[in-house]
């Protein structure tokens, strides 16, 4: 693997309201592939994403994206403009705005609806049919699964260098999760770099090329996904579960 990583975290510490959450995170996210970020609740996965996004400031260490060092002068909008899209755990869908308005907002290059890239929209409608059906509906009225689709579609409405996605399958029915996995597989085909936080190991196994496992604010294991998927003992040790039990 000789391609340089697109995103690198080196010795990142983050404090939130006096609590020391990240204790020196070292992470390298290779370009063009999907990296899974796994770990128990409270391991620091969400905090890591938020730190990259600049929503929480790193108290020590460095975050580098495509050769650019993201330091304290970078605000969240600046980081987003480097080409990073963020799909938070709560999806961040604007409930009072329509689906169309949500999408337009995410398309920084389009001032009005007719400037949206129609080909790209068609592609997205193919992946997420519900979006087209509920195009003029207020986003708050969508079901949980549909909101998640919208959130991810928003991150894809324009080409982005890196997608940060936080637990997309959380709280969704298995059939919806299947749709989600298919949509994300499509995304993979475009060779977009993705850092995906997940608790659902099935999803992780289906999509991940690489995996990093966090515990207590540190990365405790990293390597190819395949290796971990084949090693039940490793899964048991790191995630406290076996593949069969958690699906």
């Amino acid at each position: 693997m000789t391609t340089p990583p697109l995103l690198t975290l080196a010795g990142v510490h983050t404090h939130i309201a006096g609590y020391h959450i990240l204790h020196g995170v070292d992470l390298a996210v290779p370009a063009g592939q999907v990296t899974m970020l796994l770990g128990r609740n409270g391991a620091g996965k969400t905090t890591t994403l938020r730190t990259v996004m600049g929503l929480w400031a790193a108290s020590a260490g460095s975050v580098t994206f495509d050769g650019t060092r993201i330091d304290a002068t970078f605000g969240t909008p600046d980081i987003a403009r480097l080409g990073i899209a963020y799909v938070p755990e709560n999806m961040g869908v604007f409930a009072d705005l329509t689906v169309s308005e949500n999408m337009l907002l995410a398309a920084r290059g389009a001032r009005t609806f007719d400037r949206l890239d129609t080909a790209r929209l068609e592609w997205l409608f193919g992946l997420f049919p519900a979006l087209k059906k509920f195009w003029l509906y207020p986003a708050g009225k969508l079901s949980g699964g549909q909101k998640q689709m919208l959130a991810i579609a928003r991150a894809m409405v324009e080409p982005r260098r890196l997608l940060l996605i936080d637990e997309p399958s959380k709280g969704l029915a298995p059939a919806i999760v299947q749709n989600l996995v298919e949509a994300l597989r499509e995304l993979k085909r475009t060779e977009t770099t993705v850092l995906l936080v997940e608790q659902n190991f099935q999803v992780a196994k289906a999509l991940g090329d690489h995996v990093a496992v966090m515990d207590d604010g540190r990365v405790v294991h990293r390597g190819p996904m395949r290796e971990m998927a084949d090693d039940e003992a490793l899964q048991q040790r790191l995630l406290g579960l076996s593949l069969a039990a958690h699906s």
Partner: protein, 356 residues
């Protein structure tokens, strides 16, 4: 915001009938958004409830017209404040300063353009009003910019300090107004051709009030159009709901906020100008007088909601006029009572902004 004023297309430009994968139920119509009209009905309900109490139809019509006009003016003055709070969680207790500035600038402009206002020519009178209104907005907006920079910015996120500091700013500002214009009250008589009233059917309407309402409607339409049909308006509406997400989408919302703050101050100036003209007298406390009403209005309407602000303002305007006729001592209490009743029904206001 200088893009071509192209109509924002509300349907996707893609053929909706094209076969897209897997969606078997695309045959029925796309569901549309349903507007929550219940609070608007409240305005009608209040008006109708007051009819039998007032007695005579013509008085009722006059009061209703006056109430709606007052509501319009309060809405204009309040709209800026609710957006500023909704967007950036900033509580500006100094809003009254911009209102007062608007009123005082109007007085000065009228004095300077006395030749225009004393002529019985509607064109010249309207011209004077136009200049006064624009000058008020300009000065209030400019002071707003300074206010945001110097007073508000250092205390972002700290509500208690915001309350205190903006109050302090208001005190200092009011004293400056007294220093510049003097502490005594200034009369603001309407221009010559706009004195008195007209009779529309059975309704007696002040000419000046008609002009105020006309201006108000123009502002309302402009505001609604900006919020609903432009990308900046979209940003503001989204930012009110979830500021963090808007930043994550790559928009520098702080810059937007400064603009909104200045615009809100300008609107407050306009509101003050209209208020002063309708009261026909300007005192240093004019800002504080309107401010209490504004607070009631934006709480009732839902902090951050423009429609809520409008409905709340109309309700307060109507209530004040009806109660002012029936039991003048209870006007303020009636507005508060209305607010409490609304909050008991909908604790976060008539049109609560989701995810707040």
């Amino acid at each position: 915001m200088s893009e071509a004023v192209s109509e924002v297309v509300s349907e996707p430009a893609i053929a909706t009938a094209s076969a897209s994968s897997g969606d078997a139920t695309a045959t029925h119509a796309i569901p549309r958004t349903r507007f929550d009209a219940l609070p608007l009905l409240l305005v009608a309900v209040l008006a109708l409830a007051a009819w039998p109490l007032v007695g005579s139809s013509s008085t009722w019509l006059t009061l209703t017209a006056a109430g709606l006009a007052m509501g319009m003016i309060v809405f204009i003055a309040a709209s800026g404040l609710t957006l500023v709070f909704g967007l950036m969680d900033v509580l500006n207790f100094g809003h009254s300063l911009f209102i007062a500035l608007g009123a005082y600038v109007t007085a000065s402009v009228f004095a300077a353009l006395a030749t225009w206002t004393s002529m019985p020519s509607i064109a010249l009178n309207l011209g004077a009003i136009g200049v006064a209104v624009l000058a008020s907005m300009a000065l209030a907006g400019a002071v707003g910019l300074g206010f945001e920079r110097v007073i508000v910015r250092p205390v972002y996120g700290q509500h208690l300090k915001q309350i205190l500091v903006t109050l302090g700013g208001a005190i200092v500002g009011e004293e400056l107004i007294k220093a510049v214009w003097g502490p005594q009250q200034i009369a603001l008589p309407p221009p010559e051709a706009l004195r008195g009233s007209v009779l529309i059917g059975e309704v007696v309407v002040d000419k000046l009030r008609l002009v105020s309402v006309a201006i108000g409607v123009v502002v309302l339409v402009a505001l609604v159009w900006t919020l609903n049909r432009t990308k900046i308006g979209l940003l503001i509406r989204a930012g009110v709901q979830d500021r963090e997400m808007v930043e994550s989408l790559g928009y520098r919302i702080r810059r937007l906020f400064v603009g909104v703050f200045a615009a809100g101050s300008a609107l407050a100036g306009l509101g003050g100008s209209l208020w002063g003209m309708n009261q026909q007298i300007v005192v240093p406390q004019i800002g504080a007088q309107v401010n209490v009403l504004i607070f009631i209005v934006i709480i009732m309407g839902g902090l951050g909601s423009t429609v809520g602000c409008l409905v709340g303002a109309l309700l307060v305007g109507l209530m004040t006029n009806y109660v002012g006729f029936l039991a003048p001592k209870l006007t303020m209490f009636s507005s508060i009572g209305l607010m409490v009743a609304v909050l008991l029904w909908r604790p976060r206001g008539l049109y609560p902004v989701t995810s707040r």
